[in-house]
Symmetry: C2
Subunit: 117 residues, 2 copies
Amino acid sequence: MVDGVEGLDRVFQALADSTRRELVERLVRGPAAVSELAGPFAVSLSAVMQHLQVLQDCGLVRSEKHGRVRTCRLEPAGLRAAQEWLGAQRTDWEHRLDRLGGFLTDDPAGPDPGSTA
Amino acid sequence: MVDGVEGLDRVFQALADSTRRELVERLVRGPAAVSELAGPFAVSLSAVMQHLQVLQDCGLVRSEKHGRVRTCRLEPAGLRAAQEWLGAQRTDWEHRLDRLGGFLTDDPAGPDPGSTA
């Protein structure tokens, strides 16, 4: 679960590491065993497991153990919450630019007084 | 400037704090003096200045001093880079769900052999 302000703190914190972002990029394509996730990385299995723990703690990843295999899957709610916050900033920013654009296009002096009959 | 992987690390790190996100939310609406930015917060001016420094270090905010007034403004490239990374994950995720949906809708056994004349 990604609830409120603290949840967003933890999601952004989790995404502030390139190895964790690569793990998310992999899990976006489908669930994977921990050993499979660790494969492409130069870091140790235990380092990858620590990164996965951070992703689980903030709710971005869920894992289940079947026999000796632990499988991880993405929980997209956290990514969605982060994207929505960023999207809201972009919308506000673009509205501001639209208003600025309107201000620069409008003639600040109003209609030319000389044009009145 | 927000360049590459490390730039994205620092932007996400900067956004992993609710006070810094509130500063960004304010600056999205337009430039502001440091004293004006600090006004709404219960934390000290020096704490706000430290948060602004983090936002400047990762390129999300730029500041200029005129006389005794330091004015901050948003540099939206970092927000855009973060949003693009999240957007790419969402696109990949939705493609995967589409493929899964297609797989579940398709009849895996193909056309019913009994229907051939």
